[in-house]
Amino acid sequence: MTIVIVEVMPKEVLLDPAGKATARALQRVGGEHITNVRIGKRFELTVDGEVTPEVLEQIGVMANDILSNQVIEDVISIRVAD
């Protein structure tokens, strides 16, 4: 069994109010030098069997279709966990 990690982030051009609120919270506790925070998601997919290039490609399609909303998010990486 292998773990495949997919990371999704909100699109840079769009608002990230949760990220903004988090940045403010960090600044309030001594993190004044932290100027921005963006919050995304990390998915850990447990895959039965070998993770071939075909499997990764399939995961890529599913990442675009389901794990992310391409209108407001980007899939920034898909990789096998070490």
């Binding site: 909100p10 699109k11 051009v13 769009l14 608002l15 990230d16 109010p17 949760a18 609120a21 389901i66 794990l67 909303n69 209108v71 407001i72």
Partner: protein
């Protein structure tokens, strides 16, 4: 006229939507998320709630329900489809409407009686209003912030696809105070506020006349009944 209301696991305002249709004079029909069966309805409502607990993204999992292939199909053939709150989120995830919906800018859930301006009456769901009309509709959400990139926003505004706009107070940080939009064709409409909670005197928003007497939402359900006559 038969108007269907889809129930997903976690849908909450489906019963209210069914009641609204009945009060407007239509025949409400319950539709189940996992069936490929629209039961011969003439219009569809995707109701408010927390389908699938808002897991993954609001409306994301519901958008991939079996029945959604039938709903998308029907929408593409011109059937009127209304998405309310979580239903709006489902329509956006299913790409039947533009843009996206994210967490309220102030970070908390808010429930308030919200003033809206009707900006487009050229849809199956808003023909019963007049352009510029101000109505009061209950709003209750935590993830109601409408966002879109500059290009999409320009298109929505430029083509007059904004149907409702927040007035006086923007309750969730939606860009351009957008409360609801339509597709190009005008049969699909989505909005964050809940018209089905302003249909029965005694249970709607307060007005200056009497407590809980507001019924500004009824026209939305009456509009679609009129639409069927001409479709």
């Amino acid at each position: 006229m038969r108007v269907g209301v889809v129930t997903f696991p976690g849908s909450l305002d489906d019963r209210d939507a069914l009641r609204a249709i009945k009060l407007a004079g239509g025949e409400p029909v319950s539709l189940w998320h996992s069936e490929h069966d629209l039961h011969g309805v003439d219009a569809i409502v995707l109701p408010g709630g927390f389908s699938y607990g808002d897991y993954l993204r609001c409306g994301a999992i519901a958008a991939h329900s079996p029945i959604m292939t039938d709903v998308v199909d029907a929408a593409n053939r011109g059937m009127p489809v209304l998405g309310i709150c979580n239903g709006f989120q489902v329509l956006v995830e299913a790409h039947l409407l533009a843009g996206g919906l994210i967490r309220n800018d102030h970070g908390t859930f808010i429930r308030r009686d919200q003033k809206l301006r009707v900006e487009n009456t050229d849809t199956a769901w808003t023909s019963g209003y007049s352009v510029g009309q101000e109505i009061t509709i209950p709003l209750k959400n935590g993830e109601g912030g409408f966002i879109a990139d500059d290009e999409t926003l320009a298109q929505l505004e430029g083509e007059g696809l904004v149907v409702f706009r927040y007035v006086d107070v923007n309750p969730n940080g939606s860009l351009n105070d957008i409360a609801g939009i339509r597709n190009a064709r005008g049969n699909v409409v989505g909005l964050m506020p809940h018209p089905e909670h302003a249909v029965e005197a005694g249970f709607g928003p307060n007005t200056s006349v009497a407590m809980k007497s507001g019924t500004d939402g009824l026209a939305m359900f009456q509009s679609v009944l009129a639409a069927s006559i001409f479709s």
